[in-house]
Symmetry: C2
Subunit: 416 residues, 2 copies
């Protein structure tokens, strides 16, 4: 199987100033296309280290995809380095030059000499035009190996990958088919699942791999296989996936590779219903998860993020006396928040949340991580108390996932 | 300077199912401690590939930090591999065993044999106890090099790094001091900045590095240096940083390494004022950014995420006739949203947003990416129209950053 390495270049990756989301996206797309990524390497903006990475990664892979270090400033050295690495010389690419000029005209920004340098490329590469920025991509070949250099700006790199790099790789190499099938479980640990499906796992044919991917108290199971014959491999994985689903049926959230918020969205769309949220401690994170889904306006009406007492009282009609007597983090308050949101936003279902995410704000009887959740509809509300004990961000994420799952279970159990 | 490589293990990283946030966090912490991370490598759950990575990375680095592949399931092979790599044999660690038992007792989950295997460790490593999970960490030494293996679960790894690994590395090695100073600019491009500070940049002493980190239309500039004498190096960078700030003063957002939402939060805290948001197309993302900051309840009151017409009308008193005649994405509507939020939430400042984030929902006169923003207080509102042309998520992020920056400028310009 054709193997690829991803090399990302930039000091910001090595001092942790930037989380590398490019590599994950690239790996996903390459994988879908039948290219196995075996290594991902990040190096700094240092001549010898980039050079060494190029030398080493071509021992591991047939395709080297390189991002970063193509900016117009002097800390960006990828282009001159590649030029030297492949013994080329820099020449102006007319189409790239026109692109730079067009972009500056459109943005109405003054063009300086430095910007035009972006249009220079080594004369021995195939230029990949950048429709979303000024730095062109470069495709080199050497001893049967392909080296592709792209900008580190995510949407520029994505544009090049989709419109040029992946189609060109598919044309050049003969890739096998890769099939992944993923399901998501909730309410059960990794070890317990492993025990449950032990016989299934040990009987798997060698070309099929099973992976456990735990996250936020949920566990994803993934079957993967690759082969030359699309139908054979798809059929084999589909049959095994069917068996696997049967083995974990009572914990199954979805048999697609999709996030929980999308599962909830699809459930609502299927019923022609909508939902809303009333969020205190999650501060709009659930609203953000739901509205990240394209088309979410069809099932999501909105949220009241009621951080202050006044917002809870004025926008959700939580009673002042209840806030005073029970505290904002209480079952009574989340019930009133849920009712207020249902009434004011006019949705079919609601999630209401109040809690203490930390690091400050804990009390002896309500330590950091205490969360009350109410989910339901106008006829019925279910409340739950959770106790998380992590950092602020993880507490927010865990609360969101658990609240969404509680609503999912509520909707699924209706009429049963 | 002591060099480190980070090796992350897991197929999920190579098919892009998981974004590697661990490496960024680790790099940040190591950097603060004076350890230079020169490479980050990700490999799959494949025996030969992990083995090879261990062989290769020790050529580059003195310290190898390894995460992942320590779960209780059979796709996790890091522990047996390390055991073999260092010629050890697996033995039960009593403290780790007690930890596993404690965790299962506390969670009230049935314990199975497989879970107890987590307490086995190679007999030639120093065990790093895991206070947040079942898999212990392992510290090996060989020919002056240190190899540390930790779980891939972020909060378990972070716990080990903070309480054990970094202090132990500091004790073993003699690290130099690393100083970074970062500032954030808005409203100006990377090339323009580079031109502006060209003389400054070319006159920098060789031990000081300047980096340009563009993101969301803003550019971060970072000066870095390392040295043996803390005070000398701090003074040198501080002086240069002072000069740099002077050169970009009119574009300066902050001279700290902090996100824009924190800059806005500090500005509000300094004035003893609060803000709220009324978000349509950003769907709670601004609320989420602001409430991710610990202590944000002191300056942030809440948000109305008004995705539907009804939410806009009922919670923000946007007039139905205006929604009908002007459309939800219009200057008139964001003005009414802003006024409604100020009144109902009772804050000093407001950001209101309505737009079309895509991929669907564009209209001939309002294409995808059209956004109206209103910011201000009860006396004065500023409106702005933006046109972004990226994917949904990036449009949401760009809208949030630009809206926050517009409010920042509004607050800063008061009384001038």
């Amino acid at each position: 199987m054709t193997q690829a390495s991803i090399i990302t270049i930039g000091d910001e990756l090595l001092i942790g100033q930037v989380v590398d989301t490019n590599s994950a996206w690239m790996a996903q797309e390459l994988n879908k296309a039948g290219i196995r990524v075996t290594r991902r390497v990040a190096v700094g903006d240092v001549w010898e280290e980039i050079w060494q990475a190029l030398d080493e990664e071509q021992k591991h892979a047939d395709i080297l995809l390189i991002t970063g270090g193509l900016g117009p400033t002097s800390d960006d050295i990828t282009k001159p380095l590649l030029c030297k690495y492949f013994n080329g010389k820099l020449v102006v690419d007319e189409e790239a030059r026109k692109n730079v000029l067009d972009i500056f005209t459109r943005l109405n920004r003054p063009l300086i000499e430095r910007n035009l340098l972006q249009a220079e490329v080594p004369d021995n590469c195939t230029v990949i035009q950048n429709t979303r920025g000024t730095a062109p991509g470069m495709w080199f070949e050497k001893e049967g190996k392909v080296f592709v250099s792209m900008p580190g700006v995510p949407h520029e790199m994505k544009g090049m990958m989709e419109s040029h790099v992946i189609p060109a790789l598919q044309q050049k190499f003969h890739f096998p088919f890769i099939v992944h099938r993923t399901l998501l479980t909730a309410g059960v640990g990794e070890s317990f699942l492993a025990e449950r499906i032990r016989d299934f796992e040990s009987a798997l044919p060698p070309e099929v791999k099973l992976a456990y991917l735990p996250n936020y108290g949920m566990v994803r199971l993934r079957l993967s296989a690759s082969g030359r014959e699309k139908e054979t491999i798809e059929k084999k994985v589909a049959d095994l996936f069917e068996t696997l689903q049967g083995l974990v049926r009572e914990y199954l959230v979805t048999n697609e590779d999709e996030p929980l918020e999308k599962v909830v969205g699809k459930l609502l769309l299927g019923k022609g219903k909508t939902m809303c949220t009333a969020e205190s401690c999650t501060g709009g994170y659930i609203a953000h998860l739901l509205t990240s889904i394209p088309g979410s306006s069809a099932f999501y009406d909105g949220s009241v993020v009621s951080y202050s007492y006044q917002a809870k009282e004025d926008l959700l009609q939580v009673e002042h006396s209840v806030l005073e007597s029970k505290g904002a983090v209480s079952e009574e308050v989340v019930i009133q928040m849920a009712k207020g949101a249902l009434k004011n936003i006019g949705s079919d279902y609601v999630i209401a949340i109040s809690g203490i995410m930390g690091p400050e704000g804990g009390m002896p009887d309500k330590p950091v991580g205490t969360v009350w959740v109410a989910v339901g509809d106008e006829n019925s509300l279910v409340t739950k108390k959770f106790s998380f004990r992590f950092d602020r961000m993880r507490n927010i994420q865990l609360t969101a996932v658990n609240a969404l799952n509680t609503l999912r279970v509520f909707i699924r159990s209706e009429g049963q």
